[in-house]
């Protein structure tokens, strides 16, 4: 028997008739918690992207991620749910939160009948403390766990680089790459931005660990042109990077570039073992990113693959269109070398016409068309057929093939995309005084932000809100681009403002050449008419299913002629989808 336990109440009785020690809170106002007090969590649902970094850092496993919404680009749809039995209020989750959505209130009282209620999803389950978040614990700018600034990339001096076609971007050193890779929190939301779903956090982790070869092989799991992507990719991944919410996104593109640049002879380091041939043959038209990707991975799976390429080199637009100061030939060659080394046969200088197409169609078990979008679009204005008006793509192609184009001393490039930027920077390097004329504003330009910056750094003017009206002969063999100015009109809320011509006033550029870079379209003339007539189209591109299959038996299509994104990484993704599609198609056929 516990004697003390019986006696103890008596000690309380002693005080029964004395005034109480405790007093009531004056005016019933409870004292506010101190500033930066770590109370309960609040999560701003508009900011939270469900990256799970809070759950990953929690040492007590107090945070579970639960599905709330459907996933979207850059947002997993999951949200953190916190068990306050496990939480020790260390607030590492708040410190590491890449978007700053997770914070704490300075509330210290919360009373519930059962402890089981102390598990909730901040932002979803409302507990009544939410208005007290201003004074609670927040991320400290000075002690930030996140490295918000990226390691700067070294570049050639803008003055120097306009004199040469040498590579403008110099690449990371080992030390720089490791430091940049260390910034990654590993959430993987970048993958949702990548059309090719590359295994980004995995290969960045390998770089941070100092294992470049492992990183290289992770990259090669689904991209056979990584050095190209490392240099010129449209890097959609970086726009989904969780660090981009409060700082600069991880330089994913430059890190990939770094890894592949470490290996001169890829054949020795990439673990690519083609399976023995299975007797099935796939013919591929076009050795661009889509064609090369399909050929490489199909060959690894045991299919015999043969590519027909009109140009003297593989690479498609990455070879013909992209200027060499962005993507030099040796970079391309070493990647193509690896692709050929696994047994992919590439026939160079082999343009396909309708007769040859028929032969290919009959000879192979499946055909993959990946001839891209090689034809420049027209401005549809009077006088456009003037000999001094060039399509940007033809201009870039001629220069890249080692030819010359007489563009003269003064050049205006019409357009605002990456091709326009390439054309204007190449013109500058050829010694012309060149500039851009674009219909909308600089912020509306579809070109890569970094490319626009580089252009401006090179002293190339970008004139905006210019609507070309017609082309006329100019004095002394020059050519005139007559244009009007545009005002930006917001027609629908949320929609992109549209340039509308201000009537009445006309202006002109008197130049030696007008280069038109307002888009490209596929050229399907090589497909025999009977097939072409049956081929289902979606406006100017070929309609394909999710495995890149067209409505014509045996025929698959991918790359710029079958997707609207029209960039290299989407073409690579198309190539990979076609691999799966062709594999399914051929294995079902027997």
């Amino acid at each position: 028997m516990d004697i003390k336990g019986i006696l103890k109440p008596l000690t309380a009785w002693k005080r029964a008739f004395k005034p109480p020690h405790t007093i009531e809170v004056p005016n019933k106002v409870t004292r506010e918690g101190a500033e930066r007090y770590r109370g309960f969590h609040v999560n701003d649902m508009d900011k939270c992207i469900g990256c799970g970094t809070c759950a990953a850092i929690c040492e007590n496993e107090a945070i579970k991620m639960i599905p709330i919404n459907d996933p979207d680009k850059g947002n997993s749809g999951y949200r953190p749910r916190i068990d306050y039995g496990r939480c020790c209020w260390c607030a590492l989750c708040v410190d590491i939160c890449p978007t700053g959505s997770l914070e704490m209130t300075n509330e210290y009282t919360w009373v519930r009948e059962t402890g089981d209620e102390f598990i909730f999803t901040p932002g979803i389950d409302i507990i009544g403390h939410e208005d007290k978040k201003d004074k609670g614990f927040k991320k400290d700018d000075k002690l930030n766990f996140l490295h918000l600034e990226r390691v700067p990339m070294r570049e050639l001096d803008p003055k120097e680089r306009t004199q040469t076609f040498a590579e403008a971007v110099l690449g990371y050193s080992e030390e720089e790459a490791r430091a940049e890779a260390e910034r990654c929190v590993g959430c993987g939301l970048c993958i949702s931005g990548c059309p090719d779903r590359m295994h980004i956090p995995d290969y960045i982790r390998a770089i941070a660990e100092g294992n470049d070869q492992k990183s290289l092989n992770i990259i090669y799991e689904n991209n056979p042109l990584p050095e190209m992507c490392g240099k010129v990719c449209t890097r959609r991944c970086e726009f989904e990077c969780s660090l981009g919410h409060l700082g600069e996104p991880v330089a994913i593109r430059w890190l990939k570039r770094y890894v592949v640049e470490q290996f001169d002879d890829l054949k020795k380091y990439v673990d690519a073992k083609p399976e023995p041939l299975n007797g099935k043959k796939v013919g591929i038209i076009g050795a661009g990113p889509a064609g090369l990707t399909a050929a490489y991975y199909l060959r690894l799976k045991g299919y015999e693959t043969e590519i027909f390429e009109a140009a003297p080199k593989a690479g498609g637009m990455t070879f013909l269109g992209i200027p060499k100061y962005r993507f030099p030939i040796p970079s391309l060659d070493k990647q193509v070398e690896l692709i050929e080394s696994v047994g992919v046969k590439i026939n160079y200088n082999s343009p396909v016409d309708s007769k040859k197409f028929k032969k290919i169609y009959d000879k192979y078990d499946a055909v993959f068309i990946a001839t891209g979008a090689p034809k420049g679009m027209s401005m549809r204005i009077d006088g456009e057929d003037h000999p001094k008006v060039l399509a940007a793509i033809d201009f870039l192609k001629t220069i890249n093939l080692g030819g010359t184009v007489d563009i003269g001393k003064e050049v205006v490039v019409v357009g605002g995309g990456n091709v326009a930027i390439d054309a204007v920077r190449v013109s500058k390097r050829l010694g012309a005084n060149s500039y851009i004329a674009y219909r909308r504003r600089v912020v509306d330009m579809p070109a890569d932000e970094e490319e626009i910056e580089a252009t401006e750094a090179e002293g190339i003017p970008i004139y905006t809100q210019i609507i070309p009206l017609r082309v006329e002969d100019g004095p002394k063999g020059k050519v005139k681009l007559i244009y009007g100015k545009a005002k930006m009109v917001q027609e629908k809320e949320g929609a992109r403002p549209r340039p509308v011509l201000i009537e009445g006033k006309e202006y002109e550029y008197v130049v030696d050449s007008i280069i038109v870079a307002i888009g490209q379209r596929p050229d399907l003339d090589f497909i025999p008419e009977d097939i072409r007539n049956k081929l289902e189209m979606e406006k100017r591109i070929i309609k394909v299913d999710k495995r890149q299959m067209t409505n014509i038996d045996k025929v698959f299509a991918g790359g710029d002629l079958a997707n609207w994104t029209a960039d290299a990484i989407s073409a690579i993704a198309d190539g990979l989808r076609a691999v799966k599609g062709i594999e399914l198609y051929l294995s079902s056929k027997k």
């Binding site: 039995g85 959430c187 295994h199």
Partner: protein, 179 residues
């Protein structure tokens, strides 16, 4: 304040001087054997009559505990932190109840949370905030909070499946990703 510190330096050995995060905060590290003398000097000669707090830091890598005695001068409206280091393997020190009786509670708290024994404090072994604690003191950094949470709370939220968010994010996109 500088004068005070100079005077102190003439009498005692000051191991390290630091400036606090705010204007009216200074931090001095002294040798542990001189702590009582330093505190009584500051209390009696320099107007630091109020002991605001005693706290402890576990420097597990250095195998040390830091004890911080935070003083306040009503006259000058300044804080002064006197800190000492003791051996982590032998977590023992002497009480300062003879100088500041209210240290009794602070020392009792540190005893419970860090396991530092204050010789001469009669109530330090009474429970402070923990009930029936049978683990190593919980604020010691080698206390395994995850293991404790698992034993104590288990998976209270079992209807919500434990998710590997990293895997979910990498899987939610497309089935052709991994070969």
């Amino acid at each position: 304040m500088e004068q005070t510190i100079k005077k102190l330096e003439n009498i005692f050995k000051i191991v390290k001087k630091e400036k606090g995060k705010r204007e009216n905060l200074n931090i001095l590290e002294v040798e542990k054997d001189s702590l009582h003398a330093v505190l009584s000097y500051l209390r009696d000669n320099e107007s630091f009559k109020h002991l605001a707090l005693v706290s402890c830091v576990d420097w597990i890598e250095d195998n040390k505990f830091q004890l911080s005695y935070i003083l306040w001068s009503y006259q000058r409206r300044v804080n002064l932190i006197i800190k000492i280091f003791i051996d982590r393997d032998k977590p023992e020190f002497k009480t300062i109840m003879n100088l500041f009786p209210q240290a009794e509670v602070y020392e009792r708290e540190i005893k419970e949370l860090y396991g530092v024994n204050f010789e001469g404090n009669p109530t330090q072994d009474e429970e402070f905030v923990l009930e029936d604690w049978d683990q190593i003191p919980p604020m010691r950094r080698d206390f395994d909070t995850l293991k404790y949470s698992n034993e104590m709370f288990g998976d209270r939220d079992s209807e919500v499946k434990k998710t590997n968010i990293r895997k979910i994010i990498s899987d939610y996109t497309d089935e052709w990703r991994r070969k």
